[in-house]
Each structure stands twice: as structure tokens, then as C-alpha cells.
């Protein structure tokens, strides 16, 4: 059994409260891999329900949502990945796997933090039945990876391969879209370069 190496108090917006209050949440680094199986089974069930509700409401279904948690768990245990999770209301609301080893940037000669995997709980998405439960999960997770990059002396530089339906989110964050990557399932590759990451952190109210 492993334990998180750090816990930071953050806020999420309660999307179902009448006045959309900010609620306390926690972001954990070194989240235990033993939780992945539980998360995947709980989220798979919720995904199925929200897909049905979304189809009934005429929304486009989310593709490619199923992920291989077993591979991720092995990799976390082998020390290749660090899991970062946001918890609120007693359960994980989003999870991210970051490579511990800095990777080369595709836009400069420098290195960056590579985010290998990110996902928000299905009930936090617009496709779910009704309003998203909590808002800001993606913002918190990406902000935490920028913080990691800054702490590692990588200037906030960050890279990731976005799924097509998430590209709007990463563009909104101000990341540069490098283009589709034929070496990685043709997914679009995004990077935070130069001052983009620190400017974005400032824009969301976090001091770099």
C-alpha cells in the first residue's frame, strides 16, 4: 500500500448548487495505483449511464473513453508514472498520469513534463445527465502538472496528446497545437511553450 506524497487544498465549483458555490477539494500527488481498478469500474458504470442519457438528449457520445488501467497500475508501480488525483465529496473527480522522466519538447531544444493520461469523472462532463457535478477538474489537474514542471525546473513546459473532443479545452488553456502525431495514434499533440504556462496560471488566479 502506498500513500500520496502530498495533498493540497483546492476549490471546485459545485455545478448542481443553485448559486454554484466553491467547495473544498484536494489534489494528491503519488495517488496509489491500487485505486485505479476501483476508479475504472465506478467510472465505467457512470459512463454507460451518461452515454444513454446523452444519446436520449441528442448529444454526441464520447468516443474512446475506456482506458487500460492495468497497464497504468504496472507503470506507476515500476516508477515510470506518477498519479495525480483530485478528490471531492469523498471520491476521485479526475485523474492524471504524468511521466516522471522529463521528455524532449517538440517545439524547442528543452525538456518538459509529459502528461500521459488525463480523465475527468463522467459525472463532471456535459454529456452526463443534467449539469456537470463539479466544474474545474481539468483546470486543477493541468495547473498541478504546470506546478510540477516549475518545481522540476522545466519552466512550466508541458506536453500531451489530446483526444479530439478535448482539443477545445487545451486550446482554451492557451497551449500550442503542434498537429496530429502519426507516431501516436494520430492524436493532436499540444505543448505549453515559453511563457504560455505561467501566463495561464496567472489567468486562473494561481501565482506561478
Amino acid at each position: 500500500m502506498s500513500f500520496p506524497s502530498s495533498r493540497r487544498i483546492v476549490k471546485l465549483i459545485d455545478g448542481r448548487a443553485p448559486d454554484r458555490t466553491a467547495v473544498e477539494a484536494y489534489v494528491y500527488r503519488d495517488y496509489p495505483s491500487s485505486e485505479l481498478e476501483v476508479i475504472e469500474s465506478r467510472w465505467a458504470e457512470a459512463r454507460e449511464q451518461s452515454a444513454k442519457a446523452g444519446l436520449a438528449a441528442g448529444l454526441a457520445p464520447l468516443e474512446h473513453s475506456h482506458w487500460d488501467w492495468r497497464n497504468k497500475a504496472d507503470s506507476v508501480e515500476a516508477g515510470r508514472h506518477m498519479l495525480v488525483a483530485v478528490e471531492c465529496a469523498g471520491e476521485p473527480q479526475g485523474i492524471m498520469a504524468v511521466l516522471r522522466m522529463p521528455q524532449p519538447s517538440k517545439l524547442s531544444e528543452e525538456h518538459l513534463v509529459y502528461v500521459d493520461y488525463v480523465e475527468s469523472a463522467p459525472w463532471n462532463l456535459k454529456v452526463s445527465d443534467g449539469s456537470p457535478r463539479f466544474l474545474g477538474v481539468g483546470t486543477i489537474l493541468i495547473a498541478e502538472s504546470v506546478r510540477l514542471s516549475l518545481e522540476m525546473g522545466l519552466g512550466g513546459r508541458l506536453g500531451l496528446h489530446s483526444l479530439p473532443q478535448a482539443e477545445a479545452f487545451y486550446r482554451r488553456c492557451g497551449m500550442t497545437c503542434v498537429g496530429q502525431d502519426p507516431a501516436y495514434y494520430d492524436l493532436s499533440y499540444f505543448e505549453f511553450v515559453g511563457r504560455q504556462a505561467t501566463d495561464w496560471l496567472t489567468s486562473i488566479g494561481e501565482s506561478p
Binding site: V115, Q165, R172, Y185
Partner: protein, 87 residues
């Protein structure tokens, strides 16, 4: 920056996120599609002792590299044949 203004900035960002998907990283479906289309291979190393996996992966990569070279040279006519073709 005051606490209130930073909270407002975060609120604004969170509202803009507004339940957009944030998914990054390949899913099972991407891997399956790549295998089916012949663009990638998947090898289960579960039964291979951990200390031998790195060497085995290196050997597999080398085999794939050589096969790629062979395929490329088969696509391109030898220099002598190309020279015979006026164009």
C-alpha cells in the same frame, strides 16, 4: 492578487471549462485500431522474467527496424534498374 480575485479568476476558468471533455492519452480503442490496421504490434511480456524484458524489447525493436528497411528497399527499384528507366 487578493484571495477573492484569485477565486473569481478560478471560478471563471472553471465555468468556461463547463464540463468539456479533458481526456488526453490513447485509449484501448486507439491501440486496438492500430493493431488491426497493422500499424502496431502488441506483445504480452507477462510470462517473461522482468530482468529479461529490456533485452527482449530491444531485440524486437531491432527486428522491426530491419523489416522496415527491407520493406523500404523492396519499394524502391535498385539503382541499376532506375537508371535504365528514362523517366
Amino acid at each position: 492578487m487578493t484571495k477573492t480575485s484569485s477565486e473569481n479568476l478560478f471560478r471563471q476558468a472553471a465555468e468556461e471549462e463547463g464540463g468539456l471533455p479533458i481526456s488526453a492519452g490513447a485509449r484501448v480503442a486507439h491501440v486496438r485500431l492500430a493493431i488491426e490496421s497493422g500499424r502496431t504490434i502488441q506483445i504480452d511480456l507477462f510470462d517473461v522474467p522482468e530482468d529479461k524484458r529490456t533485452a527482449l524489447i530491444a531485440e524486437i525493436k531491432e527486428l522491426v527496424r530491419r523489416a522496415g528497411l527491407r520493406a523500404t528497399s523492396a519499394d524502391v527499384p535498385p539503382a541499376s534498374e532506375a537508371a535504365k528507366d528514362p523517366g
